[in-house]
């Protein structure tokens, strides 16, 4: 069973705001799901020779600057833009 502290810590890591009621409901859901995930604990094998990631990925491109998106395209989906920058609340 998830404690309030655990759930709050996970909410902080996830960067999502929850009300207390939502945290409680989330705790209940996650308890059920983790019970399903707990099946994995009975799997004992280690040092299996296969690769975990199935893809053949081994080609890297040269470290060269190439054309990317136009600045206008990059900015157009933001809700708050000023002088070619994204506006955010003051940090410092």
């Amino acid at each position: 069973m998830f404690t309030k502290e655990q759930i709050s810590q996970l909410a902080e890591l996830s960067k999502i705001k929850f009300t207390n009621e939502e945290l409680k409901s989330m705790a209940d859901d996650m308890t059920d799901i983790v019970a399903l995930m707990d099946k994995i604990k009975s799997f004992k094998e280690e040092n299996i020779e296969e690769k975990a990631f199935v893809c053949e990925y081994k080609f890297l491109r040269k470290d060269e600057v190439k054309k990317s998106l136009d600045k206008e395209d990059v900015l157009k989906n933001s809700k708050n833009v000023e002088k070619s920058g994204f506006v955010i609340p003051k940090i410092v």
């Binding site: 705001k17 995930m37 994995i40 975990a52 609340p89």
Partner: protein
């Protein structure tokens, strides 16, 4: 697709007329199904005009003038791409996904963006900010997910073919529920550039259509290496249809006993085994095999996919794109408010779970173990393929349920994915095709799993079965 191509080339119908016919049907009937989030009528008619000019001047490519739909997590330049989420409800990509671009460069006709579970997380297409999707066979029933809109659009005759995505069964399961054909290719076959990421080591773009042949036709256009996706494969399949009409004699079909357990409904087992008998009478050899680690597959899948989702969805901060809340007095709380308002409950659950299994205290216990299960499952599939050419299984444990009867407990919904997730973990190709109907006349699907990069073989087997299996028409 072949018959559409012939009609267009012989000018029995123009691309413009074809396009208008599809939109008329969509507007008349999609209100009951809700398979589309965005319709692209103006763009489609412009493309149709260009396609008609190409056809007249005989500058024809396989997809010139052919309409298609595309799941709304695949980027389309200047056309809203929402992932069925409030977070991206007004997001307009500045580029096309490679798979979409390959079709559009041939002057195909994009009809619209199909509905889905938010960020591809779900198996009912009911987790959508734009409302759930109904099954064209009976709109009271689910279409499946997360590519429910794509499957429904094809089943309802709104589109001859749809591009969709599959992370843990999101093409095959809705294809099965809607009585159409869906293929998830080998990991790396189709570029993921422009596919909005859910779980990057599992996601693949695939195709849903009314036949295996049409899927092969589409793969011939969209598959292939892409410099913009480092995980896309160098391997070349020159023609996905080259084995289409080959004899089935001597093909060994594995039937893993774990896929025919008590968890699978009797109706489904019966229909799939009936299909197995069809293959046997056609000259195939049936081999009983085993995938012992299947019992861990759902657990491993949800651990790995949630972990990757937690990472992938951390980009949605509402600053550069996406929903921006009017609340949030500082940077940190602004991001939290944006994500609170922008994401649905299922997304929040998966992100929280992902962060849980990746956290220092639980990483070894869950995530590292899940990676070991993944390796073991791959190894067991490789063992089976030493004695078999393909594997036949049910696509789903149960048939489509009524929307009002959807299970409330998310863990119980996840458990239903037992027939599909292991294939994604192993990165193998799989095609699902209809093989029967249940007592409610809802479709049943069977899956044919192949060796890596052996899509032609599984397409051939599905095609052979489809030639003799009569699908029920949707009224």
């Amino acid at each position: 697709m072949k018959s559409l191509r012939e009609k267009l080339d012989k000018k029995e119908i123009s691309a413009t007329e074809l396009c208008r016919n599809y939109f008329e049907k969509i507007k008349e009937k999609d209100n009951k199904i809700n398979s589309f989030i965005t319709l692209c009528e103006e763009e489609a008619l412009n493309s149709a005009k260009i396609a008609d000019e190409r056809i007249i001047s005989k500058n024809i490519m396989p997809f010139t003038g052919i309409p298609f739909s595309i799941k709304d997590n695949i980027c389309t330049k200047d056309i809203k791409t929402t992932c069925a989420s409030k977070m991206l409800s007004d997001f307009v990509p500045p580029y096309n996904a490679t798979a979409a671009e390959k079709l559009l460069l041939q002057d195909s006709i994009l009809l619209g963006k199909t509905n889905m579970d938010e960020f591809a997380m779900g198996s009912r297409s009911q987790n959508s900010y734009f409302g759930g999707v109904g099954n064209p066979h009976n709109p009271e029933f689910i279409a499946g997910g997360s590519s429910g809109g794509a499957a429904a659009s094809v089943a309802a005759g709104f589109s001859p073919v749809a591009l969709a995505s599959d992370t843990g069964g999101s093409i095959c399961q809705p294809a099965a529920f809607c009585g159409v054909t869906g293929l998830k290719p080998t990991y790396g076959t189709i570029s993921r550039y422009g596919l909005i990421a859910f779980a990057s080591s599992l996601d693949q773009i695939g195709v849903i259509s009314t036949s295996a042949e049409d899927i092969g036709y589409t793969l011939n256009v969209i598959a292939g290496k892409d410099k913009r996706d480092a995980t896309s494969s160098q391997r070349v399949v020159s023609d996905y249809l080259f084995e289409k009409d080959k004899s089935l004699k001597g093909i060994k079909i594995g039937l893993p006993k774990e896929f025919f357990s008590e968890e699978i409904s009797d109706e489904i087992k019966q229909k799939v085994l009936f299909a197995a008998e069809y293959y046997k009478k056609s000259g195939c050899e049936l081999v009983e095999v085993s995938l012992p680690s299947l019992e861990y597959a759902v657990s491993a899948y949800y651990i790995i996919s949630s972990a990757e989702a937690a990472s992938n969805l951390s980009r949605y901060d509402g600053i550069r794109y996406g929903l921006r809340s009017e609340f949030g007095e500082d940077y940190d709380s602004l991001i939290k408010e944006n994500r609170k308002e922008g994401f649905g409950n299922e997304i929040k659950r998966r992100i929280m779970l992902g962060n849980y299994v990746l956290s220092f205290k639980y990483y070894d216990e869950y995530y590292k173990k899940a990676l070991n299960v993944r390796k073991k499952i791959k190894k067991e599939y490789d063992e089976i393929f030493k004695t078999c050419d393909v594997i036949l299984t049910p696509t789903t444990a149960k048939t489509a349920c009524k929307i009002k009867d959807i299970q409330k407990n998310p863990a119980k919904i996840y458990a239903d994915d037992i027939c599909t997730v292991s294939v994604n973990l192993a990165g193998l190709p799989v095609i699902s095709t209809a093989c029967g109907y249940d007592k409610n006349d809802m479709p049943i699907g069977m899956s044919i799993i192949g060796r890596a990069f052996c899509e032609p073989e599984i397409i051939a087997l599905a095609h052979n079965f489809e030639k003799s299996f009569r699908r029920e028409e949707i009224k």
